[in-house]
């Protein structure tokens, strides 16, 4: 299936309102969806017989900075049997960065969401084990936020300059 066909199929099965906006300047192409419908969209993409996106290749958390005031989560999906690619995006408010977890759909989302939580500061609602993964548990702040400033001392050690 081509990208346009995939989008039409999703619209016909789940309703036109799940596709908020198409992302044309992306490789692979994709669309933006809203957080309320995210889980049902993902479950459909994962288990539908014609789409069967069985692998979540990459989950990216992205901060657009305090001026835009949004953070995004980008899901790169791939279907091994059909060789389809798809990019799904959700955008949420930067101060209330809360996205439902997809770890019930793909188990790999568990660690990838922990990483996005750790580095970008996105809360994944319903995640079974949301702890920091790369930074120490008592680290302050989220390093990949655009306005991040590191703490002065960590366990008594001076950090910068």
């Amino acid at each position: 299936m081509k990208f346009e066909e995939i989008v039409e199929y999703i619209k016909s099965e789940l309703g036109a309102n799940v596709v908020l906006e198409l992302i044309e300047n992306a490789t692979p192409k994709g669309f933006v969806t809203n957080t309320d419908r995210l889980i049902s969209v993902m479950q459909f993409l994962h288990s539908d017989e014609q789409l069967y996106f069985d692998s979540l290749s990459c989950l990216t958390g992205l901060d657009n900075g305090p001026e835009e005031g949004t953070v995004e989560v980008i899901y790169n999906l791939y279907s091994i049997p059909f060789d389809h690619h798809l990019m799904i995006k959700v955008q949420v408010d930067r101060d209330q960065a809360e996205v439902p977890t997809v770890s019930g759909v793909w188990k790999t989302a568990d660690w990838q969401e922990r990483e996005a939580y750790d580095l970008v500061g996105i809360n994944f609602n319903g995640h079974p084990d949301l702890r920091r993964i790369l930074m120490p548990a008592d680290w302050q702040g989220n390093p990949l936020r655009k306005d991040y400033e590191e703490q002065e001392f960590y366990h008594g050690i001076k950090l910068e300059e």
Binding site: M87, R131, L134, P143, K158
Partner: protein, 405 residues
């Protein structure tokens, strides 16, 4: 600066910064938490495993990672595209050429110059990447032997790997962290005489690979130690994002060199070995190691065909410039791009966001195969013995530089 405070003493400074997931009081009376690592040779680097045990039996494994976190993604969004390549090297430091290749392909796709590179550049890229794949698999197989008590293969593998590292040092000046594949080309052409010496090395290596299989892979003790241990079903592997030799060991013929056919791989003949469960169950530790050993043979085939091309149709010419296509200014249009390639450990991916206004990316996310492959460990080790846990960790072939980035 001299009188600046560097350290403030406090009694609480040595407190544990990474608490255990399981609490002592929640355990059953026969259960116990054993901590393995981060300083332990069998964890292949700084991996810490919190193991809940019931006698000899593993009840759960919780990996604690991040000890080698060097802020790859933070660095990548503060320097221009081309200056990130040395950081990419330091992710999977055993297979830096492969990671560089994937990264360079991603930026070339964003610039729209992929597919326009001279064939000789592409063949050299594949040649060095496959040499590096051999070196990475040698470490994987050799150190796996050392993990479970076979010491000879470790020396043999590191001996042959040393030849590869010296060849690659001849190519670009560094043994492990190369910065050789540039965006739009290469640092230098191959040195004069390299092709011939590489052919000699290949003819030396072939019987060694057969010898390795006979002595190590098909050894009865090795089979009994690894067959039926740590069995990974395909569906579980896909759900956990497992890729590379680990997923192929479970019987799925899935190799991005074939599936995506990037660079000159479609022009090269090679096969994709998959685990068949010859010695036990499909997807056990033996299958994974066997797949790696078979892939070494395939890499040798690829190298031979590359050398044939580099001596024949695409031979060295006086006016060949490997940097001809290297852009002076790397400023892709505003876009998102996900690129992936087959690393020795699995699918390496990069997600880029370029804003079109600066030479610095807005975001680079690296998807390391070791990170995903490690996440499945608790599923593999549950219900097994502690000794098997060590065999499972070794068979996953993680590089902590890539897990922690």
């Amino acid at each position: 600066m001299a009188n600046q405070v560097q350290y403030i003493f406090d009694d609480k400074n040595l407190r544990n910064s990474e608490p255990l997931k399981y609490k002592e009081e929640d355990l059953k009376s026969e259960e116990m938490i054993i901590n393995i690592g981060p300083q332990h040779p069998s964890t292949h680097g700084v991996l810490r495993l919190e193991v809940v045990t019931n006698g000899e039996i593993v009840v759960d494994v919780v990996p604690h990672i991040g000890f080698l976190h060097r802020c790859f993604e933070k660095h990548a969004e503060s320097v221009p595209f081309n200056q990130t390549i040395p950081f990419v090297d330091r992710m999977d430091y055993l297979a830096a050429m492969n990671s560089e290749h994937a990264y360079a392909m991603g930026v070339e796709r964003m610039l729209g110059i992929d597919g326009q590179l001279p064939e000789r550049v592409e063949y050299i890229r594949v040649l060095v990447a496959e040499l590096n794949r051999l070196a990475s698999h040698f470490v994987a197989i050799g150190s796996y032997g050392a993990d479970i008590g076979a010491f000879t293969p470790f020396f043999w593998m590191l001996r042959d790997r040393e030849h590869i590292l010296r060849m690659l040092e001849w190519v670009c000046g560094a043994r492990m962290l190369y910065n050789y594949i540039w965006i739009g080309g290469l640092f230098y052409d191959l040195p004069v005489g390299f092709e011939e010496r590489c052919q000699e090395f290949i003819s030396y290596l072939k019987p060694k690979l057969t010898e390795l299989e006979k002595v190590f892979i098909e050894n009865k003790i090795f089979i009994e130690r690894t067959a039926n241990v740590g069995v990974l079903p395909i569906d579980l592997g896909i759900s956990y994002g497992v890729t590379g030799p680990m997923l192929r060991g479970s019987g799925l013929k899935y190799d991005l060199r074939k599936v995506d056919g990037y660079s000159v791989y479609p022009k090269i003949e090679f096969e994709v070995p998959v685990g068949k469960g010859e010695m036990g169950t499909i997807g056990d530790c033996w299958d994974r190691t066997w797949v790696r050993a078979q892939e070494c043979h395939q890499s040798v085939r690829i190298i031979e065909q590359c050398l044939e091309q580099l001596i024949g149709d695409h031979k060295r010419t006086r006016d060949f410039d490997p940097r001809k296509m290297v852009p002076k200014k790397i400023r892709p249009k505003a876009q998102d791009l996900y690129v992936r390639a087959e690393n020795p450990k699995g699918e390496i991916g990069f997600f880029f966001r370029a804003d079109g206004r600066s030479d610095i990316p807005l975001r680079v996310k690296a998807r390391g195969p070791s990170f995903m492959n490690l996440s499945v460990i608790s599923e593999l080790a549950k219900g097994g013995l502690i000794a098997d846990l060590i065999a499972i960790v070794g068979s996953i072939d993680i590089v902590l530089g890539e897990v922690d980035r």
